[in-house]
Symmetry: C2
Subunit: 248 residues, 2 copies
């Protein structure tokens, strides 16, 4: 663990374990998302906005939108240096950017994220202004445009049904964000998984899911190697998650 | 990362991320198993018996038996210090022990494991004697008896069927050991998951499983809070895994 805080930027190293890599030895995108959530939590804690600080007011951070662009895939045993900084408030979102470097300092991936502060008694978002203030913000934005809500599927086909298990639930008593991405990637056609790589992913988290619920995963193929997904509760129109994976 | 090698014993720290913990904030046993496999690989590499060394001879380490006794559950953000040492050869097995400490030096868990060296062309085990030699072995054994093969279920009931996905497959092109434990714990009755803790687990890995196969999980309740499991290929009598979980 190598930590360096200059308050507005936070840096942390993550070693890619064999359990973080796939059949080809490349890092899994789910592990990258685990690292991003972890370092966001560490930085928030260092700034006194951490989940332990927020819990005292019945509040919690919830990831709402995430976009990752991949330049290169790191591999097993690589030590990644991840850098993160908050870029301020946009509506109800607190925004945060990430750069992922390998040991040589080469930029492997960039990411951008939008977070809500939710009152977990009312399940409603609250205005983040009084909580995170307006200091410590950096200007550097990594994508040209702000993250938008992904549009609905026009003609998705059912890929799989999944039941929510013990291993999917996190300390917030609901399905952890990263599990949606796991189910989405697992439901991709084999020719994508075996012959292509994810070039860019964008995901929206819309409604929480609880233990023992059953979810259905819908997919449609767009142009240009783009697969689009929606996860819904079984026998309902409630959408829990939307995502777009661009492959190369 | 804090590494200390005195050749025969190897020590490594692992920080428990939020993604390594369950709904109660306790570490998942699957994450503990990930750490144990990781440190075993690191130590083997330091002793020049690592998977990269073995691959040159078409060989690979395969975990065959594992037993873990839990004294206390570490929590999110705890940094564990894991110590491991090989204890020598028994039949075709290379044996290895583990102690897991928290930051205060309190012993949280102990574990023992038996590994085979498999020729991945013939799929047969080879004698480990010429590969790992007889130096570097420590005497300290953590359980009274050697790990035995778990007996077959006498009256198991089908709990679940699971299809093998992309996220289950590791660099050896088969289901990673830890995924069997994930499926087993996920198939436990809710009253065990919510009201009890795993006190001891013992697992045997019998036959590998490939991408897209379907597995069936069978369970029987033994006396004294003991649940016993078998994982089989669907429509076959081939057993891939046996396990016993003792709960407290």
């Amino acid at each position: 663990m190598n930590t360096d805080i200059n308050t507005s930027k936070y840096t942390q190293n993550f070693r890619i374990g064999s359990f973080d890599t796939d059949f080809s030895g490349k890092v899994k995108m789910t592990s990258i998302c685990n690292y991003l959530q972890e370092i966001a939590g560490m930085h928030a804690e260092a700034l006194n906005w951490g989940i332990d600080d927020l819990r005292k007011q019945n509040l919690s951070w919830v990831l709402s939108r995430l976009k990752i662009k991949v330049f290169n895939y790191p591999k097993c045993k690589d030590v990644l240096k991840i850098e993160t900084w908050p870029t301020g408030i946009e509506g109800l979102f607190g925004n945060r950017e990430f750069k992922i470097f390998n040991e040589k300092g080469e930029l492997m991936m960039i990411a951008s994220s939008c977070w809500l502060i939710i009152n977990f008694k009312t399940k409603r978002p609250v205005r983040p202004h009084n909580i995170i203030g307006d200091s410590y913000f950096e200007n550097e934005k990594l994508f040209k445009n702000s993250l938008q809500k992904i549009k609905a599927l026009s003609c998705g086909e059912l890929q799989e049904s999944v039941k929510v298990h013990y291993s999917d639930i996190d300390i917030n008593q609901h399905v952890n964000n990263v599990k949606y991405l796991k189910w989405i990637i697992d439901s991709c056609p084999i020719e994508f998984l075996h012959e292509k790589e994810i070039d860019e992913l964008e995901i929206n988290f819309l409604h929480e899911v609880k233990f023992a619920e059953t979810l259905t995963i819908f997919m449609q193929s767009n142009a240009n190697n783009e697969l689009q997904f929606a996860i819904k509760k079984q026998d309902s129109n409630i959408e829990n998650c939307r995502a777009i994976l661009k492959w190369k």
